[in-house]
Amino acid sequence: MEKNDLIIHLTDICFSYPGSPPALDNLDLKLYKGDRIGLMGPNGSGKTSLFHIIMGLLKPSAGTIEIFNHPTVKEKDFRKVREKIGLLFQDADDQLFSPTVVEDVAFGPLNLGKSQDEAMDIARNTLNFLGLAGFEDRITYKLSGGEKKLVSLATVLAMEPEVLLLDEPTGGLDDRTKAALKDVLSNLDLSYILISHEIDFLADITNAIYTMEDGKILFDQELHVHQHVHAHPHGTYTHEHK
């Protein structure tokens, strides 16, 4: 691949929370333009911490971060990064804090210096794109779990990022909402890294799956496809089969 297709380049990243064993331990990661990477790993293996390191919400104790071929060290560098990389938090409740949906979606564009009207336009368009037209004045706090995830995604997409970091976007979602989310993601023309415990979901919408264990990414994996016996009730409750 071309050098200027390298978007995220982490080398030897170490990080630990105060008073805890290392959460990330000499971790390396490369994300090229067009990559769609799935990331799995046991609870506590450091997946969320990795995303927060990339966004500059946590500071590594060692290692280098290069994003769009620029070394990224200071808070000022990360401010630029955050305009180009969008993060969907593991818990949608962490992402939404405005009273109404449209205010929350317009918040990012406003911070990027857009005028009130432009920001509102962007917010409306993003909501339409995600099939959330009519949600503008809904109270974010009262949305259902699935709706919260989609609105959170809208707040991120409204900033028109080039890369998405998605932290367990399917957590707690029913199969219908999961299918809707899958549709949206496969129609986006973006690079992304997606954390999930659901291998089926990852296999469908990523082109590489890495696993994390004890603060490291393991690359020596191959993707196997094999038969699996699976039971479920038929009826009104739809379930997807490929």
Binding site: M55, L57, L87, D94, F97, P99, L110, Y141
Partner: protein
């Protein structure tokens, strides 16, 4: 993160928390009403001795003395000039009075002595144990209860605050002196409150599900042992001595 100050094992750590609370309270009261410089110096020495024997690292307790001394430094900017008395010397046109300097010195010693004692208490007693001990000492159950709940929610709220702050950051928010900033912070506080209210309800429900009927039980049993009695007697003697010295000289 809000962390409790806690230290390794020490003699003081193993004392009955009720004894510690009573001693620190009485000590603070006596020092608060004292005015004799020698008495205050003795009190400071005593508190320093205790904080060191509680095993609090010097760097740690010095760091914790900073907030107290900020206000003290602020007062030093005024008291030496404004306190009525004989002028000791002049800084420009301003007279520094002898009494003013003395007064500010007394306040400084008092503050630090009382704080050191409080730090020794906090460093040797977990907050929850302290709550149970206060209950045993006659603080109403409901207040102690409120104390427990608040302590638990401080952590939950502070964590949720940190997360919402991250959410604001990744969307390019930078605090400035502007209406947008204040509105954003107000929304964040509102969201914190709303979410915490619902969580409070759910936590209360979880407690009901486990048979909660409004009673507090503690797993740490308090029992007065010989070392508690000895320490209590020693400390009470010291405090009474301080009191008597103060009283003798002021009469």
């Amino acid at each position: 993160m809000i962390e409790e100050l806690s230290n390794g094992d020490s003699f003081i750590k193993r004392l009955d928390p009720r004894i510690k609370i009573v001693v620190v309270f009485l000590f603070s009261v006596v020092v608060a009403v004292s005015n004799q410089l020698p008495v205050l110096m003795l009190a400071l020495a005593l508190s320093l001795l205790i904080v060191l024997s509680a095993g609090v690292p010097t760097k740690e307790f010095l760091r914790r003395l900073i907030p107290v001394n900020m206000l003290i430094i602020f007062l030093w900017l005024f008291l030496p000039f404004t306190f009525a008395g004989k002028a000791a010397f002049f800084i420009g046109p301003l007279a520094v009075t002898h009494e003013g300097v003395l007064y500010a010195t007394r306040i400084t010693i008092k503050s630090n002595a009382m704080m050191l004692m409080l730090i020794a208490l906090v460093a040797s007693t977990p907050i929850f144990t302290m709550g149970h001990a206060m209950h045993e000492l006659g603080i109403p159950k409901k207040i102690v209860h409120l104390f427990f709940f608040t302590y638990r929610y401080i952590h939950v709220m502070h964590r949720e605050y940190a997360r919402l702050l991250n959410s604001m950051k990744i969307r390019g928010f930078r605090p400035k002196t502007s209406l947008h900033t204040y509105k954003t912070f107000a929304y964040m506080v509102g969201m914190l409150l709303v979410r915490s209210f619902d969580r409070a309800q759910r936590v209360h429900n979880a407690m009901l599900c486990r048979g909660f009927k409004g009673n507090l039980y503690s797993l740490s049993k308090f029992s007065i042992k010989r070392r508690d009695v000895v320490s209590l007697v020693c400390m009470l003697t010291a405090i009474i001595l301080l009191g008597v010295m103060e009283w003798k000289k002021t009469i």
